[in-house]
C-alpha cells in the first residue's frame, strides 16, 4: 500500500514543482537584471559614490539637493515643453493619417503609404539627429538656404527647441500611425455601415463612432508617449550640442547623465528615482483622466 502511494506522492510533488522550474529562468534573470539593480540603485541614491572607491551614506541629501536645484526644475520644464509641443501634432497627424489610409479611397495604396510613413522610425536616431543638425544649420542648413535667411536655430535659446520638436514629430508620427491603424482595424464595419445607413456623414462617423471606440487605444498611446517623452535624451543633446545640451534647453535625463559624467553616481540615481516618480504620477493621472471619461 505504502509502496504504491510513494510514487504517486512523488508525481504530485513533481507536478507542483514543474511550473516553477519553467519560470525559473525568467525569475533568475528578473532578479539579476532588474530587481537587484533596482534595489542597488535605491541604495546608491542614498550615498555619495564616484563609481569606485568607498561609498559614504548621506541619507536623503542627494534628493534634497536635487529638489532645491533650479536647473532640475528648468530641465523638467524643458521636457514638458518637448512633450506637449510634439505630442499634440504627433497624435493629430498620425491619427488623421491612419484614418485616411484606412478609408476606401486610399486603402488600395496602403502598401506604399504605410512603409513611407513608418520609415523615420527605422532610421537610426543618432544619424537622424545629426542630419537635423545640418538641416537647421545657420549657413549650411537646408531651411535657411531655401528661405534665404540666416536664422540661428541651433544657437538662439528662443528657437533651439524648434529643431528638436520638429524631429520628434517627424520620427514619432510613423510609430503612432501604425498603432492607430491597428486600432482602427478593430472597429467593426457593421458599426460604420449602420452609421452610414442612419445618415451619418464621414465627419459624424469619425467623431461619434471612431473616436469613442478608439479611446482604449488613445489611452495606450498617450501613456506610452508620456513615458517615452520623459526619457527624452538623444535628440536634444545631439542636435543642440557636441556633447550635452545647454541648461536652457536640456531635458530632464541630463540630470542623470551630467551627474554620471561628473562622477556623482549617488545624485544620478536620485535623479533617476525622481524621474520614476514623475512618470508614475503622470501615468496615474492619465489613467484617471480616461477612467473618468469612460
Amino acid at each position: 500500500m505504502t509502496q504504491t502511494l510513494k510514487p504517486r506522492k512523488r508525481n504530485r510533488s513533481q507536478r507542483q514543482i514543474a511550473p516553477y522550474l519553467f519560470i525559473l529562468p525568467f525569475l533568475l534573470s528578473f532578479l539579476a537584471f532588474f530587481l537587484i539593480p533596482v534595489v542597488y540603485s535605491v541604495v546608491i541614491s542614498l550615498m555619495k559614490y564616484k563609481g569606485y572607491g568607498t561609498m559614504r551614506y548621506v541619507g536623503f541629501d542627494n534628493y534634497r539637493r536635487l529638489l532645491t536645484y533650479g536647473a532640475m526644475w528648468n530641465s523638467l520644464l524643458n521636457t514638458l515643453q518637448y512633450f506637449v509641443f510634439a505630442m499634440i501634432p504627433v497624435m493629430i497627424v498620425s491619427f488623421l493619417l491612419a484614418v485616411m489610409v484606412r478609408s476606401r479611397v486610399m486603402s488600395r495604396y496602403q502598401k506604399i503609404y504605410k512603409p513611407l510613413i513608418f520609415l523615420p522610425q527605422v532610421c537610426a536616431v543618432v544619424a537622424s539627429a545629426l542630419v537635423f543638425k545640418v538641416i537647421f544649420g545657420t549657413n549650411v542648413g537646408a531651411i535657411n538656404q531655401v528661405l534665404g535667411t540666416s536664422i540661428n536655430f541651433l544657437g538662439d535659446t528662443k528657437l533651439m527647441k524648434l529643431p528638436v520638436i520638429t524631429m520628434l514629430i517627424w520620427r514619432n508620427t510613423g510609430w503612432y500611425f501604425i498603432i492607430f491603424l491597428s486600432g482602427l482595424t478593430t472597429i467593426s464595419e457593421d458599426l460604420t455601415e449602420a452609421a452610414k445607413i442612419d445618415g451619418a456623414n464621414s465627419v459624424q462617423t469619425l467623431f461619434r463612432i471612431t473616436i469613442p471606440v478608439m479611446k482604449p487605444i488613445f489611452k495606450l498611446t498617450f501613456i506610452t508617449y508620456a513615458i517615452g517623452a520623459f526619457k527624452l535624451y538623444t535628440e536634444p543633446n545631439l542636435i543642440l550640442s557636441k556633447d550635452e545640451a545647454p541648461l536652457a534647453v536640456a531635458p530632464f535625463v541630463n540630470m542623470i547623465t551630467t551627474n554620471i559624467n561628473g562622477g556623482n553616481l549617488g545624485m544620478a540615481c536620485a535623479a533617476g528615482w525622481i524621474l520614476v516618480v514623475l512618470i508614475m504620477f503622470l501615468t496615474i493621472m492619465q489613467m484617471g483622466m480616461f477612467k473618468e471619461e469612460q
Binding site: 564616484k50 544657437g155 535659446t157 556633447d243 551630467t258
Partner: protein, 425 residues
C-alpha cells in the same frame, strides 16, 4: 680590493636585475593590449603601425588594439569609472585630458611610470614634466599632445587685409582686427556663437591664478575679479559684431573652414589636426602666431594625456610603450608626419624636421615652443567634470543676456555648492 670586488659584483647584479626586468617586458608570449581613445581610431592605428615598424620588439610582444571608449574626454573618464566600479578589466593605455588627471591620480589608481620615462626625462620640457608628476613625485601620465594656446591664421587673407597678428596685443586690438579683416576680405577671424564651450572660458582662466575653490575645496568665486573679467571678455567678443555668430562643433563651423569664410582661430595647438582634415586645399596658406599679449599664457586643458591604471593587465609594458610613443625623438618624426603633433621635447626646439610643413609656414614650430614656455593648466579638482558643466551653462546664460554677470556667477557658485558640495570630499 675585496671591497672593490664586492662593489663590482653588486653593481653587476643590479645591472643584471634591471636588464632582466627590461628584457622581461618583451619576453614571453604575445599579448593583446587595449588602447582606449575617443572619436576615431584611424590616426592611432597609423601611429601604432609606425611604432611597430621602428620598434619590432613591440610588434613581436604585443598586438595593440585601438578601441573607442567614449565620444570625448568626459565620456572616456566615465567609462573608466564604470569599469573600475564593476571591477572589470581596464584598457592598458587610456587617452584622457589633463582635466581628468587629478581625479584618478588623487584616488591612487594610476601606475607610476617613472622608470619608463627616466631615459627621456632630461629632454622633456619642464612645464610638461611638472604636469606629468603626481603629488608624491611619481610620474603618472605622459603627454599625447601638450596644448598651449596658439593663434592659427590664414597668412594670405591677413596680408590682404593688412593685419599683422604680432601687432594685435590687446582685446580691443583683436576686435579691431576682426572688423578690419571682415571688411577687407569678407572672412571672420573668429566665431563666438553660443553655446560657447567650457574651453573658451577655461583657456582664459588657465593663464591666470584662479580656481573655483579655496584651499579647503569650498566653492568661492562669485566675487572673483579674474572670472568676472573672463565672462565679460567673452560677452564683449560675442556682442562686438567683429566675429562670426556660428558656434563651434556645428556643421557651420567645419563648413566655414572648408569654404574659407573663417580665416583664423584663437585656440590651442590641437586645432591643426582639424585644419588638415577640414581644409586640405588651403595647404601652405596657414600660419601660427601667439595669442594677443593681453590674453597669453595657459592652455586648453593642459595636455591630452595617456594614463595607465595600476590594475591594467600589462601596466609595465604599457608604460614602456607609451614612453617610446611619447618621447623617442626619431619616432616622433613619424608621428609628426601623421598628425602634425610636435613633441614637447627640448631637442625638438632645434629639430629642423618640425620647421618644415606642407600645410603651415615656418612659424609653427617656433610659436609652439614659445607658447609652450607659458604652458599652464587650471588647477583641476577631482570634481572638475561636474564644475565645467555648471559654469558653461551659466556662461551661456550670461552671454545670451538671460542673466546679469552677478546673477550668473552667484547661481553657478550656488549650484556647485548644491550639486558637488566640496571639491575634495
Amino acid at each position: 680590493m675585496k671591497k672593490l670586488l664586492a662593489l663590482v659584483l653588486t653593481l653587476g647584479l643590479l645591472a643584471t636585475c634591471f636588464g632582466a626586468f627590461a628584457e622581461d617586458l618583451y619576453a614571453g608570449e604575445k599579448v593583446t593590449m587595449e588602447m582606449a581613445v575617443w572619436n576615431s581610431v584611424e590616426t592611432y592605428e597609423q601611429i601604432n603601425a609606425a611604432l611597430i615598424q621602428q620598434f619590432p620588439e613591440i610588434g613581436e610582444k604585443a598586438n595593440i588594439e585601438v578601441v573607442i571608449e567614449g565620444d570625448g574626454d568626459v565620456g572616456i573618464a566615465q567609462k573608466m569609472r564604470l569599469l573600475l566600479g564593476a571591477g572589470e578589466e581596464l584598457p592598458d593605455m587610456v587617452r584622457v585630458n589633463y582635466a581628468q588627471f587629478a581625479e584618478f591620480e588623487s584616488a591612487g589608481l594610476l601606475y607610476d611610470m617613472s622608470a619608463a620615462v627616466e631615459p627621456y626625462k632630461d629632454d622633456i620640457i619642464p612645464a610638461v614634466l611638472d604636469m606629468m608628476t603626481g603629488e608624491d613625485g611619481g610620474i603618472y601620465c605622459m603627454p599625447q599632445e601638450a596644448k598651449p594656446k596658439v593663434w592659427y591664421y590664414r597668412t594670405d587673407i591677413f596680408e590682404q587685409a593688412g593685419v599683422d597678428p604680432k601687432e594685435v596685443k590687446t582685446v580691443d586690438d583683436f576686435i579691431a582686427a576682426g572688423k578690419k579683416v571682415h571688411e577687407a576680405t569678407g572672412t571672420w577671424i573668429e566665431n563666438y556663437g553660443t553655446p560657447l564651450n567650457a574651453y573658451d572660458l577655461m583657456m582664459i582662466l588657465s593663464g591666470k591664478d584662479f580656481s573655483f575653490t579655496d584651499e579647503n575645496g569650498d566653492f568661492k568665486f562669485a566675487d572673483n575679479e579674474i572670472i568676472r573679467e573672463a565672462f565679460e571678455r567673452l560677452k564683449k567678443f560675442h556682442d562686438s559684431g567683429a566675429f562670426s555668430p556660428i558656434d563651434e562643433w556645428s556643421a557651420d563651423w567645419q563648413a566655414a573652414f572648408t569654404e574659407g569664410t573663417i580665416s583664423s582661430q584663437l585656440i590651442a595647438s590641437w586645432m591643426k589636426m582639424h585644419l588638415l582634415t577640414w581644409a586640405p586645399d588651403q595647404a601652405g596658406k596657414w600660419g601660427c602666431a601667439m595669442w594677443p599679449e593681453e590674453m597669453q599664457g595657459g592652455s586648453d586643458a593642459g595636455m591630452g594625456i595617456w594614463i595607465v591604471f595600476k590594475d591594467a593587465p600589462h601596466a609595465a609594458l604599457a608604460a614602456d610603450i607609451l614612453a617610446k610613443y611619447s618621447f623617442d625623438p626619431e619616432f616622433r618624426h613619424a608621428v609628426y608626419s601623421i598628425n602634425a603633433v610636435i613633441p614637447p621635447l627640448e631637442s625638438a626646439k632645434t629639430d629642423d624636421f618640425y620647421a618644415s610643413s606642407d600645410y603651415f609656414d615656418a612659424s609653427l614650430r617656433d610659436v609652439y615652443f614659445e607658447a609652450l614656455e607659458q604652458l599652464r593648466a587650471y588647477p583641476y579638482e577631482p570634481t572638475f567634470s561636474a564644475e565645467q558643466t555648471i559654469i558653461r551653462d551659466y556662461l551661456n546664460e550670461y552671454v545670451n543676456g538671460n542673466l546679469s554677470l552677478d546673477e550668473a556667477l552667484q547661481k553657478a557658485q550656488d549650484d556647485m555648492i548644491n550639486q558637488i558640495g566640496n571639491a575634495f570630499d
